[in-house]
């Protein structure tokens, strides 16, 4: 069962809606003072998982433990787990201050009025809403609402905060800033955050650990670095959105794909034979260049400037889109001629190969 180091633990939780499995035997644990991100496409069950932990949904089977206690059948208002909603779910008829103080004023723990005032003010100051206390929540911006939602949850001093795509409703600029603030606030409070997101960059950037969910099952869990550099399955590599993936055939240590037959030193056991190479590990060479690694002919289509890097788009002979990322820290980008053919090449040992054959 739950040990002292785990703040929460879910054990074999399943939940289905009308015959469709939203969660299929999920087992997961998070430690004290940890930032865990939960990555998955929409419909992967990540929101359902969060709602089961919060107590808004009752699992069909499996148990939920919080601080070593079985809370599977405890109502949500007695769990003491914070929840930050994607749409913030602020109380529209209350001011910022009253929203933040709501849990202390109407919750099941008695807090003295002077303590309510003090805690409300200090958390409002912490999230940077000083001076906004008496505004209505309809009169403040999206970023400020996000802060109210966070303050309202944090003021209850929960040990575990669940965040359901908390940055999804914000624009890109604000999202970047809130990422840093979320991490800073979490570190200051020493609570465990379980952050659900559909964005792979968010999941990798924010989590001390990353859990990848697909169709109600956990398909990989580990450090961001571990998940990023060694995805456990083609599905994980696909969600990370950082890999050119080629279908082919792995047989006796040789992968045959659109780029020909390549000797493979290492392959991960998987249902399908897939060859994945990271966007930033691909080099572009003129046609006819001598290459040491695998090479694939492709037509240059367009490029996209991303600030710190340039993304070049190529199309292979069979119509597949390949992306090549060039980090600008490595020097000025090459310019390519549209509709011209180039040779895409990479070092064979940097590819990640999945196959039915598995480890070699």
């Amino acid at each position: 069962m739950a040990t002292e180091t785990a703040i929460f633990e879910i054990d074999g939780v399943s939940k289905s809606y009308g015959g469709v499995n939203a969660l299929d035997g999920v087992t997961l644990r998070a430690g004290v003072n940890e930032y865990m991100s939960l990555l998955g496409p929409s419909g992967s069950g990540k929101t359902t998982l969060l709602r089961v932990i919060a107590g808004f949904e009752v699992p069909d089977s499996g148990r939920v433990y919080f601080e070593g206690r079985d809370i599977t059948s405890l109502p949500a208002n007695e769990r003491g787990i914070g929840f930050v909603f994607q749409n913030f779910a602020l109380f529209p008829h209350l001011t910022v201050r009253k929203n933040v103080a709501f849990g202390m004023m109407h919750g099941n723990t008695r807090v003295s009025p002077s303590e309510i005032d003090a805690r409300t003010q200090s958390v409002i100051d912490m999230v940077g809403l000083t001076g906004m206390e008496d505004r209505g929540v309809e009169q403040i911006s999206g970023g400020q609402r996000q802060r109210v939602a966070l303050a309202r949850t944090l003021v209850m001093q929960p040990k575990l905060v669940l965040l359901d795509e908390p940055l999804g409703a914000l624009d890109a600029n604000l999202r970047g800033r809130m990422r840093n603030e979320l991490r800073a606030i979490r570190e200051r409070m020493g609570v465990t955050f379980l952050h659900v997101t559909g964005s792979e960059t968010e999941a990798l950037a924010m989590g001390d650990s990353v859990v990848v969910l697909d169709r109600g099952r956990i398909i990989q869990a580990g450090t961001p670095d571990g998940v990023y550099s060694t995805p456990a399955s083609p599905a994980v590599a696909h969600f990370l959105n950082r890999f050119n993936m080629f279908d082919g055939n792995l047989s006796q240590g040789v992968f045959t794909g659109p780029f020909g037959a390549v000797a493979v030193t290492h392959a991960t056991q998987a249902k399908d034979d897939v060859y994945a190479i990271r966007y930033d590990r691909v080099q572009v060479q003129p046609l006819g260049a001598v290459t040491s690694g695998p090479a694939l002919k492709a037509t240059y289509i367009a490029s996209e400037y991303l600030g710190s890097s340039v993304m070049n788009y190529f199309e292979t002979a069979d119509g597949k889109l390949c992306e090549v990322e060039h980090h600008l820290s490595l020097g000025a980008p090459e310019t390519y001629e549209p509709r011209q053919q180039y040779l895409l090449t990479w070092a064979a040992d940097q590819a990640i190969v999945f196959g039915k054959e598995g480890k070699l």
Partner: protein, 288 residues
Amino acid sequence: MTGAIVEAKRKGTNWLIVPGIVWMALFMVVPILMICYVSFWTQTTFNISSTPTLASWKQFFSSDTYIGALWTTIRIWLIVLATTFIIGYPTALFVGLFVKSKTLSTVLLVICVIPFWTSFLIRVLAWRPMLGKEGAINIILMKLNIISQPIEVLLFTELSVIIGMTQIYCVFMVGPIAFMLGRIDRNIIEAARDLGAGFGRIFWKIIFPLSLPGVVVGAIFVSVMVLGEFATAGALSGRKVNLLGNIIVTQVGSLKWAMASVTGVILTVVMGIVIAAFLRIVDLKREL
């Protein structure tokens, strides 16, 4: 530039309200002014002349019958407002908030409206065989040996008027409240639960305040209709309950136009005060 576009749009769309204004002016504003004017006319037994006088006004305020009707109207209005709210709010709560499927809640609201498929008079008169001395309720209670003598206060009393009006007007309370409750974001209620609030606190601090605009709209509907009522009282009170509406009907029937006008003006003023008071409770412009 944008100002010019807005201006052009306004010119293009202004005519849309012309029919409404013409209609309201001809059939509401002018008649109300006429009623005010006629209330100062001189009434003789068989005739009325436009010589200005305060006689009808003095008569209204010095007569126990008329003043009594005013107080009866206000008393019945307040009671019916309370009963429609007490019965209507829980119904609306169920239909608007606890029924998760939108289709089912629409079906339930339509069911509430089914009585309106028959005429108003039939709905009122149908209470007679229900409430009468030998009516359905008395028969059932006697068959079950709960009572030995029929309950006579059920029909042709103020009680029967209140029962009838509550049944007829309850749906006007349920509709607006259910609509407002249906618009509450379920995440807000979950957020309150997550912050540790039990159902009672969530109801009084979140659900009820957010449904208040619906309560106000429903109360205005019910008030306007009950204050102007005469048919239910006429059919179910055995002429024992006289509302301002019944006074107007009687006076018009005996061609006492001036007295009918005085009563009409007083009724309009009462309604105006009631509506204004309700609108002060909540800023509908902001809420709807």
